[in-house]
């Protein structure tokens, strides 16, 4: 009697439910939080605070896109905050030193710089075979140190940046800031890329079972390298958009943001052990964290409770992930034994 392959319609249905359940539960949580906060403080849904919320989430959501690709492969990228810091200041310096330069050119240069920095990570990890945790920890230090040395006590002020560029962070189209539109478009691209294209599926494969991926003929080193280059490029874009959003950049820009990004990604259903999760979920995770912080602010909870809550949320998310995976493993084992 042939064993039932796991990828039956029923198995797939369960798998889909697993993915769906994370996204739906995130959406539900966000809805509940919004409802509760709005009843207690109606300003929560005012156009200004919604705009603030969208702007606050957008940069994190952008970084989450890159980090998802990385974590899917069971890797990690801690250096993104330093890359954002460098490209944010670089973008500002370009405007100062080359007045009249086009915003598109600045963004292109920022993305390119991020890409190059990401390539450093890629080379060390894929070729030098240094574990991602150590590499990106080292580059986190090195890039940030270089950033400090370069910026020193200077800063870019909003007055140095052309209004048209700052408008990315302030003007809206159909009530949604341009910055957020950029992130939404990228979200759709990433989502399609990861799901429908073979290259995208490779990220999942490498994370689920690296050995099997090698045996299946996937060039694992190259895929990992490309992943880190993408993460770097995204961080570069985020740097340019950081300048548009905040207008002022100094040496400490984006410091510490990597932990928020990783927390958002894991809360959003991308398991830290790799192979599971979607970009949509990850962005919803970022949104949930942002809405949650906003809720605390609106309810006048002292801001120092926020960190404890964030930590607790991450722990709950990991435990939930593990539980769901355990349940799934149990189910498939039961199916096997029937045959």
């Amino acid at each position: 009697m042939t064993k039932q392959p796991e990828n039956t319609a029923e198995g797939q249905g369960w798998l889909n439910a697993l993915f769906r359940s994370r996204e739906t539960s995130l959406v539900l949580l966000i809805a509940v939080l919004t409802a509760v906060t709005t009843t207690l403080n109606p300003r929560f849904l005012s156009p200004q605070s919604l705009k603030d919320l969208m702007l606050n989430v957008s940069i994190i959501a952008l970084l989450v896109l890159g980090q998802t690709v990385i974590i899917l492969m069971r890797q990690i990228d801690l250096s993104i905050s330093s890359i954002v810091g460098i490209t944010a200041f670089l973008s500002g310096t370009l405007f100062i030193n080359h007045p009249g330069i086009s915003g598109y050119v600045v963004i292109a240069i920022a993305v390119l710089t991020g890409l190059l920095l990401g390539a450093v990570n890629a080379a060390l990890i894929a070729w030098g075979k240094i574990p991602a945790l150590i590499t990106t920890l080292g580059t986190l230090y090195i890039f940030r140190g270089a950033n400090y040395a370069w910026v020193h006590g200077r800063q870019v002020n909003a007055v140095n940046v052309p209004g048209s560029f700052l408008a990315i962070g302030t003007s809206t189209v159909a009530g949604v800031p341009i910055l957020t539109w950029i992130v939404l478009i990228l979200l759709i691209l990433f989502s399609i890329g990861l799901r429908q294209y073979r290259a995208g599926r490779e990220y999942y494969a490498i994370g689920s079972n690296p050995n099997a991926a090698v045996l299946a003929g996937i060039n694992v080193s190259r895929r990992i390298a490309i992943g880190f280059i993408i993460s770097g490029a995204i961080a570069g874009l985020a740097g340019a958009l950081w300048l548009a959003r905040f207008g002022t950049v100094d040496a400490t820009a984006a410091e510490g943001i990597e932990l928020t990004v990783i927390t958002s990604t894991v809360v959003g259903g991308v398991a830290i052990t790799g192979g599971v999760g979607t970009v949509v979920g990850a962005v919803l995770g970022a949104l949930l964290l942002s809405v949650f912080s906003s809720t605390l602010v609106f309810l006048r909870v002292p801001s120092f409770w926020q960190q404890a809550f964030q930590g607790a949320m991450l722990l709950v998310a990991i435990a939930a992930d593990a539980y769901l995976a355990y349940r799934h493993a149990l189910r498939s084992r039961v199916k096997w034994s029937h045959v």
Binding site: Q48, G153, N157, A158, V159, D250, S294, V297, L299
Partner: protein, 336 residues
């Protein structure tokens, strides 16, 4: 031996002392080959850069070797290694803007026991940790004038908040204390301080804290931000939001950063002093201390180059002078 006629002696002495009180003359000689270490709160802070620059300018004038070293974070302990290094290098004076009033005292005391003069500027430590403190303006004066400025703009009634820097910064807490004292006066009984938020002197955090204040307190009428990073971030947020013109913003900030916000109406009035002058005065005071010409006692005077003669006040505090008020009328005159 010829005796010099008495009148001529008196004349010479009088003219010499007259000459000594104008311009750049130093009345008492300084020790040679002095070496100073300037330790700002953190080295990436633009305000600190201006201040340290003033100190190093003064050092150049006096022929002193001055250098600026410091941490990139504003933690209490981050400045300690630099104090220790200065002791090891046997510097003659340490000029420091303290991140914490108490954590540095044991190390500064060690420095003083090794004959290193310690001058604090901008943000003080406990008095036993230093000999002289250069205060940019009377703390009481700053607190009072900020409250008065805001009261004028919101009609002395309504809720307001304070956006400060780091929670432990000595200067911030002293000014806030005087603000709260001023608020107790009967003319401000309609004004209520609803929250003190901390932006940690970080632009992004100050930005989001301002957001938070306006979201959580719908009736907020004004914000006082006695920190240049804070007021600049708050101004940027408010000027692109529907609160512009409805929520008054004032505080301490640099003209260059805030010029556009004064012009577009986000800020009516704010104040500051020249941070470079604070550093400049600190270096001159340290030079006199290191040469043994003054001890930091009340009543002593010393020459401070282009800032004229200065007197040491109570507890070794030297005041720079009253702050300048900036508004649309005079903001274009300044460049710092």
């Amino acid at each position: 031996m010829t005796r010099i006629p008495l009148m001529r002696t008196i004349a010479v002495v009088c003219s010499l002392s007259f000459l000594g009180t104008i311009g750049f003359a130093q009345d008492k000689p300084l020790k040679k080959d002095l070496k100073f270490t300037v330790i700002p709160k953190n080295i990436n802070n633009p305000y600190m850069v201006i201040q340290s620059g003033g100190a190093t300018d003064a050092c150049k004038e006096l022929g002193i070797e001055g250098k600026v070293v410091g941490p990139s974070e504003t933690g209490a302990s981050a400045q300690v290694p630099y104090i220790n290094t200065a002791i090891t290098q046997r510097q003659n004076a340490i000029l420091i803007a303290a991140n914490d009033p108490n954590a540095l005292v044991p190390y500064l005391k060690k420095a003083m026991s090794q004959k290193i003069s310690v001058v604090t500027l901008d943000s003080d430590t406990a008095p036993e940790g230093r000999e002289i403190f250069i205060n940019q303006a009377s703390a009481e004066g700053i607190g009072q004038s900020l409250v008065q400025t805001l009261a004028k703009q919101i009609g002395s009634s309504g809720d307001f908040a304070i956006l400060s820097a780091t929670p432990n910064a000595t200067n911030q807490n002293t000014w806030i204390k005087y603000m709260q004292q001023e608020l107790k006066k009967p003319e401000y009984k309609e004004m209520k301080l609803v929250k003190i938020a901390y932006g940690n002197d970080e632009d992004q955090k100050s930005f989001t804290e301002t957001q938070g204040l306006l979201q959580a307190y719908p009736n907020l009428k004004g914000i006082i931000s006695p920190t240049s990073v804070g007021i600049a971030a708050a101004a940027r947020y408010i000027s692109t939001s529907p609160y512009k013109g409805k929520v008054a913003l004032t505080g301490l900030g640099t003209p260059n950063q805030l010029r556009q916000f004064v012009k577009d109406g986000t800020i009516k009035e704010f104040e500051l002093w020249n941070p470079a002058d604070v550093g400049y005065l600190a270096a001159y005071a340290a030079a006199q201390l290191a040469s043994g010409n003054i001890q930091g006692k009340e009543g002593e005077t010393f020459a401070a180059g282009k800032l004229g003669t200065r007197t040491v006040g109570k507890d070794g505090v030297v005041l720079l002078g009253p702050p300048t008020v900036f508004n649309a009328d005079n903001i274009d005159k300044f460049n710092f």
